[in-house]
Subunit: 413 residues, 2 copies
């Protein structure tokens, strides 16, 4: 079973946005055992769209199209598809009504453009898009399938997960394929490779392993193909058990769990509450923690003390500490932890102060110097990081390290 | 002049890495007035590579290939190209010597694989790669150009800037091309379309307009092609001036500026400071504000009052207010603003409280109910949003709205 992914949009051709949709779709298809033959990006023109679709139908069984479904005039995918299939456009009452309800909810009235948007090629099965106005469309043509979806990533992902992937699975059942994902934090790809190379060499031929690196994290994904689903799953579980002791200190979870979710689970289980005090990360750690539904059970809040005044007035950091050691120092983050514990009465507090960059460094404390402290009533631990010149990279990486610092602190409690 | 970009690699097809090379190359070509007709990703196989090259030669004048040039066995681009052009592989003494010198410098000895790597298709002009072992290759074929480069981003970028772009410019001096990007916030694509449709209809044929939607924002991009660069730029500037009054209240900036950068600039210009008090956005607004370098000049900090206790104890929200109106209410966010102004002594404070979801809604206050207040010593304004069930979408969208609320508040001051 081979799929082609077609992305439509001049904004991708001229590099105004990076196409991340195709990679995500490729991952999902690959996990279902569907091979991706080609990824093609073409312009929003009738000719380029129909030619790309024609070529894809000659080479692939499944064609996934994204982009070109908005209500504005440069979105002509639907018209091109109707012409390609030789069908008329048909008004979809249900789509129009759904858009109308959506707009009513937001207190807005529907526009002429949305009336237009409710026309679909007559041979399309409509896939309801709960995340936006443009529905997805499912076409069957000479035993093959074409799906057209909006290019907005969360709308595309919703449609893929809720509609497209399950339908593909039932329509094109392949050999059993199964995956195990091991989630690690705190060590890079090459170091992990050094440790697990002999394990990888000894893997049976029907199991492959891929490294999926992220910010401060590496996911290890094992993919197995077999004839018998139960045996395949038993084999994969066994291989995970063999892998675990080789890198146990870096493993924080499995499958789709996020580090912030693991921490949430640990805090809930241990009945502990936490608060953060952030300077250079500017709220990104609090954002990560609160991105987890239900985090209000264990997260009290945060003091984003961007200024020295806030460090002193809210968190009780001593003026003499700031003067002697500076805002970016072990002493300051320790006092920030103490101040947060006193102020917010949580079981645990974590504090971060650093120079995110690109400016503000000194020879002794260059850009990328970051201090983290974590503590409860009895103990405080501190960590120093020496990172990069890149502001966003420093903020994101530091927040991941901080989450791991919380995890390790909780492990010992 | 039309170019195709071909990216070679299974790791891209299965979504193990996101192809950022093509976007960068597309930008560079586009700025030289070269149109990008297609971006294609294919597998590392002889058949897929030669077929993609063949198709590209039939449709484009310039073909840029990346990937498949490393010393490992799955890199077969060179062999495929030699076969496609019907030429032999030829040993490149200069390449071999350069690799040898490179390895000597790092104290390593050259391997058999690197000897292999010094063979090139006989018709290739070699482009020296100062950033790695694999050189680039420039081919001319029936009046067209094909360039093969390594897939490692910094090696590709080096070769593009040092060799490929200057050579293309001298070989294909094209028509001038220019862009203008207008940044809007606070209204959707279809509403903007309603307002500017007559303007778009009246645009001269050499100017095109594209909508680029994001979270709560829409970018409008005009692209013009002309014979005279100066006249083209004058025409585009004139069209931007004509467009502005049609949607003036939504325009926050131009070109690559971000909303948070505009706000930073306005705060700096007006000499005002700001602080945030966030409940449901959990620090994401503070993160957005502090993602701008130099934001410490105007951003004092934030109280992430996730719990009611923090709203009362830190921000002085009255227990009776919380009891009578609830944490998600106009009254509460107004008191949060006042509490923040009193506590942090900034000129302006903004407060957010809402139900981000997916749980926690009631019939009167469903998930997605959000209140925002902004104020200074004299005035307070409030806004209510009714958003979705999706937690992350609510957090991101609310933060964008909040940034726009800050912008509008500053406009009046």
């Amino acid at each position: 079973m081979t799929a082609h992914i077609i992305t439509i949009g001049d904004e991708i051709l001229i590099g105004q946005i990076v196409d991340t949709n195709s990679a995500w779709m490729g991952q999902q298809l690959n996990m279902q055992g569907i091979q991706i033959g080609k990824i093609v990006t073409v312009s929003d023109t009738h000719k380029d769209i129909t030619e790309a679709v024609d070529l894809a139908f000659s080479e692939a069984d499944i064609i996934l199209l994204t982009g070109g479904l908005g209500p504005t005039k440069d979105d002509i995918t639907k018209k091109a598809l109707a012409d390609y299939f030789g069908v008329e456009m048909r008004f979809s009452e249900s789509t129009y009504n759904r858009i109308q309800r959506l707009f009513k909810k937001f207190g807005k009235s529907i526009t002429e453009a949305h009336h237009e948007q409710s026309y679909m090629p007559a041979n399309a099965d409509i896939l309801m898009n709960k995340m936006g106005t443009a529905p997805g469309m499912w076409f069957e043509h000479e035993g093959k399938v074409l799906v057209s979806m909006p290019g907005v990533p969360y709308e595309m992902k919703y449609l893929m997960e809720a509609e497209v992937l399950p339908k593909l699975k039932s329509q094109f059942p392949g050999k059993p394929i199964a995956h195990r994902t091991i989630l690690t934090v705190g060590e890079g790809e090459s170091r992990i490779a050094d440790r697990i190379d002999p394990f990888l060499e000894a893997l049976p031929k029907n199991i492959k392993m891929a490294y999926l690196p992220g910010t401060g994290q590496v996911r290890l994904r094992m993919t197995g193909i077999g004839d018998n689903e139960k045996e395949l799953n038993t084999l994969l579980d066994q291989k995970v058990e063999e892998l675990k002791p080789l890198i146990s200190e870096f493993i924080y979870g499995f499958e789709k769990e996020k580090l912030e979710e693991v921490i949430g689970r640990m805090l809930n289980e241990k009945g502990k509450t936490i608060a953060t005090a952030e300077s250079c990360t500017g709220g990104f750690l609090a954002h990560k923690i609160t991105s987890v539904p239900g985090s209000s059970k264990y997260f009290e809040g945060s003091i984003i003390s961007y200024s020295n005044e806030m460090k002193m007035n809210q968190l009780n950091v001593k003026p003499s500490t700031l003067k002697k050691h500076g805002a970016v120092s072990e002493e300051t983050v320790k006092e920030m932890v103490q101040g947060t514990l006193d102020l917010l009465k949580t079981d645990i507090a974590i504090a971060i102060s650093g120079i995110a960059g690109p400016d503000g460094g000194t020879p002794e404390k260059p850009v990328g110097t970051i201090w983290i402290a974590i503590g409860d009533k009895k103990n405080t631990k501190t960590y120093q990081l020496n990172l990069w010149k890149d502001r966003m990279k420093n903020i994101e990486y530091t927040s991941t390290v901080a989450l791991n610092v919380i995890r390790k602190f909780l492990l010992e409690r």
